[in-house]
Point group: C2
Chain length 403, copies 2
């Protein structure tokens, strides 16, 4: 059992904090900090109402390293769980090093003024964390996160090597809005409109955003159009499992979503550079975020299921030749909302964040250094997925994917 400091008070944070409060044998006093303390207070009030548990809240500008170090020391936290914006990853890693505590996040660092998704900035902290005897866990959400743990579990128990892997993310949920993203619209649209990129034959292959579409029949969700796009686990999987010949990421989008995203791009509303307007610099995508519904307000309205998983092909562990496995979780928006007051997209990210922090606090993942999820032993994490609301299934397919 250990103290924890969660930074950030959006939908994912709310789920993670609720789930921590549901596991008092693992998580000691829970501290929650964000620039807007009232958002922390709302989460704390919900936790109190649902489970009678206390969450201590704080106002914190996470860009202020000295203030963060002081708060870490004040709370006695053993780990900082970073559920703020990815722009803040590096400053929070700095604060953890200075305060001498462990670190966990769910999304890789991005510079605010560039839609560039890569681990180089965070991997550069490897020696610092190792020398300090501290552990930093990168990308402990669902994708990235569970999708990497799934791959590692398959590689440990079912396949000797992985020749090719496809990560498939389907959200069959309907929130009834003309247009609303399922998580932070700024982060969502930056991802979706970025050039598609996948790993194949030892190099990155690129294609224009949203141009490669395949229909796939998802368990629990049904047939959906999914689009090839870049996602950060492709970099860590292809780095840590060098035998991988091809790694791709697919996400489902409805036609209306695609139309909205393209129009917003056409008119410049997804630009991440500042525009002078009426004497003030405005970053268009941030103003768009102000206009769009807050995804965490849509939990109550969202119906349907999400299904995220991996299809991996490789040499079977039992020496029976090449085999293909599909490993996935199906998550129901309304059930998530009933349990913790958030829909499945926040739930599927927040629960693995809690489990990753539990792995560190329990001492199971405590090797000093900076780690992606596929570098760590998957078994205890996989067990907790089953008991903490994200049960998974694995099935053998007839052969490799045909798309």
């Amino acid at each position: 059992m250990g103290n924890v400091l969660v930074v950030g008070a959006g939908g994912v944070s709310s789920v993670a904090v609720h789930k921590m409060a549901m596991n008092p044998d693992i998580f000691g006093p829970i501290h929650l900090a964000s620039r807007t303390k009232s958002k922390c207070d709302a989460i704390a009030a919900s936790v109190k109402a649902r489970f009678g548990a206390e969450v201590t809240t704080h106002a914190l500008d996470a860009m202020d390293v000295a203030a963060t170090v002081a708060l870490i020391r004040q709370t006695g936290a053993e780990i900082v769980v970073n559920l703020a914006l990815p722009y803040q990853d590096l400053v929070l890693m700095d604060a953890c090093l200075e305060a001498g505590v462990n670190y966990l996040d769910t999304a890789n660092y991005e510079p605010e003024d560039e839609a560039k998704f890569e681990y180089s900035w965070q991997w550069a902290y490897q020696e610092k964390f190792r020398e300090a005897g501290l552990t930093a866990i990168l990308g402990s959400g669902f994708d990235p996160g569970v999708t990497s743990v799934f791959a590692t579990w398959l590689r440990k128990h079912k396949l000797k090597t992985i020749r090719q892997i496809d990560v498939l993310d389907a959200n069959g949920g309907d929130n009834g809005q003309a247009f609303a993203t399922n998580f932070n619209p700024e982060i969502n649209l930056r991802e979706v409109l970025a050039e598609a990129r996948h790993w194949e034959g030892g190099e990155w292959k690129t294609s224009p955003a949203m141009t490669h579409k395949v229909e796939f029949d998802f368990p629990g969700v049904g047939p959906k159009n999914m689009y090839l796009m870049y996602h950060e686990e492709l970099e860590s999987l292809s780095t840590h499992f060098p035998e991988i010949e091809r790694a791709r990421f697919w996400m489902t989008f409805g036609d209306a979503y695609i139309t909205h995203a393209k129009v917003l791009e056409n008119v410049g509303m997804t630009r991440i550079d500042p525009v002078m307007h009426d004497g003030k610099e405005i970053i268009p995508i941030q103003f768009l975020k102000t206009l769009l519904p807050d995804p965490s307000d849509l939990g109550e309205l969202t119906k349907g299921k999400a299904c995220i998983g991996d299809i991996a092909t490789g040499e079977a562990a039992d020496g029976s030749g090449e085999k293909t496995f599909y490993i996935y979780n199906i998550c129901d928006h309304e059930e998530c909302y009933a349990e913790v007051g958030s829909q499945a997209v926040a739930y599927t990210t927040g629960v693995p964040a809690m489990i990753g922090a539990a792995m560190v606090l329990k001492g199971i993942w405590r090797e000093p250094g900076v780690w992606n999820m596929e570098q760590l032993d998957p078994d205890a994490f996989m067990d907790m997925l089953n008991t903490q609301g994200l049960p998974w299934q694995v099935e053998e397919l007839d052969g490799p994917v045909a798309f």
Copy 2:
């Protein structure tokens, strides 16, 4: 010949000022004022380069009545030609009354915070202008403007009465942009997204925006989808020609334009109320205007033709029963650009503004009061359309429109 003060320095103003300079027998010294003097200077430089004529430029905040009065007196203008935003109509009418000069505009007054199109505010100035012995001409663009003069000309020469009238506005131009409006995007989107309204059987009938679509084969342009929408001449035509049973306005839009407009409305980017963003009030549609291409920059890129006109049905002047006439102008984007450096949408508005001002300066339209275009004798105006770049044609149709 008389001095003129043009207020506003957008695309329409540029056309009107160029055409005034091409008619030195009518227009004395030309003065041009706008909040941003550099925009006036650019127009003056173009006029100088093309025709060797002088335009005197001034910085003016048109919302400041005292400053406007002072400038009118300084310039010795006999008429103020208001080509600024429609929000400024009333303050400029006030300034004209105080300075004792005539007034002309191309679009009816709108309050900035309400998309409400009606003449009531400006018609309320009728007595003031009459008592002052001054003339105010409202809506001397193409639509409104020429479309009303067309109706009056038909009613004077071809039809005793007008039973039904359709105004048809087709822009067959292509500017090569993913999305760009042909005139001020703020004004354009306010119009397009407003509830459709037409006059029928003595009352206004309404329907949701962009829901009533008809394909029409436009002379010079070809078949285009046109949409029923409200436009301000419907109010003045049905008021001044009380025999009209049905008056409708149609404008063409491509599918991509409709999609962009609907998406922008869905996400709130066409809102005209202020939104708090990062500690400052932002009006979304004004920020959208900042992001979109400036229509006056697209002149060089625009190809194709525009066709605007009226189809009117009524009792024939010669007693031969009911007849239907189609009267229209065809305008070529590239020819306009070659002549005055603007595309056809600005040209078709700016030329009638110049002609309306010429009617006042020549003493042809000098009855004291506030007048819509269909209240004035059309013949001299129609002659000038033919000689000033907007030649018109009239043809008899087999019967009333079938749509």
